[in-house]
Amino acid sequence: MVAAPNGHKPYALPKIASTGSSAIIACVDTDNNINFWEQTNSPPWFKHETVASAVGGSGGVSFPAIAWTGNSVIVAALTGSGDLDFWWQGSGHWHKETVANVG
């Protein structure tokens, strides 16, 4: 098990990719956070980061996606208001862009 929802609402819709040397996972939870884990070489085997919190307001967030660019992790998700949002990881931070509103 990577993570139990201790202190969080349940995790949902996990997506996985590989960097070539480790697995990376993104999923949403029912508090509308976007969570990220990267596999490590020692216990607890996965390191957690919060990509973004309370995404999408009352409309929530769903359909996360994750990929590895060769240099960094990229994450995308759809908010309940139809925003397709995108995050990229750089300099220890997650940077957000809105790709489009798909209504």
Partner: protein, 238 residues
């Protein structure tokens, strides 16, 4: 595989959109640049389910199922504008997500999986530069897969990943089990592994799978919101 991929120099995304989700849309953005560039891949008045995307090294490839249960495939060669459409199959579960991947290698295959209207897992493969889609049924609903369970009523939408040597498909079923099927490239049989929930009363849902180059990794959750990760080794292939 999901709705986003990397070409190595750009992020590429797909999603349904437009009025009543009647279009499959595509966005790309070169790393370190702005803005996002949007293109319409295809339009169908019936609407589409969640599309899936992959990158072959020379083309972006997308698959989606429409509200009439038709599975479509689109591809766009790198550096070109037009999207080319092929009708892959009919009789799929309407607007359920399809899944697509690329095996890599010189004789690479585009591979697609989806659940049909009867709850079976279907698989298609096409060699690059050829026209026909080759179909196989991976798993049939109505069959017992675990002696302790009733027959599987239906499989849920699958996820697919591929390496140069094999294709892997993962899906949960109506009994709450995680199912993994693997086929060696160039062969016909699918080898199935069924993973029942570790705790009585739990069920597994929403699996995803990715290629790591020479193997695959899988993630999924259970109905209590616990997140899991498995490798082929931990699935204990037999």
């Amino acid at each position: 595989m999901g709705s986003m991929a990397s070409t190595g120099s750009s992020a590429i995304l797909t999603m349904f959109g437009g009025d009543n989700a009647t279009s499959v849309l595509y966005w790309w953005q070169a790393f370190g640049t702005k803005p996002w560039h949007q293109e319409t891949v295809g339009t169908d008045l019936s609407g589409f389910g969640w599309p899936a995307i992959a990158w072959t090294g020379k083309a972006a490839v997308i698959a989606a199922v429409d509200n009439g249960g038709n599975l479509y495939y689109w591809w766009q060669a790198v550096g070109t504008k037009p999207w080319h459409r092929q009708h892959v199959a009919s009789g799929l579960a309407p607007v359920q997500p399809a899944t697509i991947a690329w095996t890599g290698g010189g004789g690479g295959l585009v591979v697609i999986a989806a659940v049909d209207a009867a709850g079976n897992i279907q698989y298609w493969w096409q060699k690059v530069g050829t026209a026909p889609w080759n179909n196989q049924r991976v798993a049939r609903a109505g069959v017992k897969t675990d002696p302790l369970d009733p027959p599987v009523v239906a499989y849920n939408p699958p996820a697919i990943a591929a390496t140069e040597s094999f294709v892997g498909i993962v899906a949960t079923d109506s009994n709450g089990n995680l199912n993994y099927w693997q086929q060696t490239i160039g062969t016909a049989p699918w080898n199935q592994t069924v993973v029942p929930p570790a705790v009585s009363g739990r069920s597994y849902v929403a699996p995803d799978i990715a290629s790591t180059g020479d193997t695959v990794v899988i993630t999924f959750v259970d109905n209590s919101g616990n997140l899991y990760y498995v490798t082929l080794e931990s699935l204990r292939f037999e």
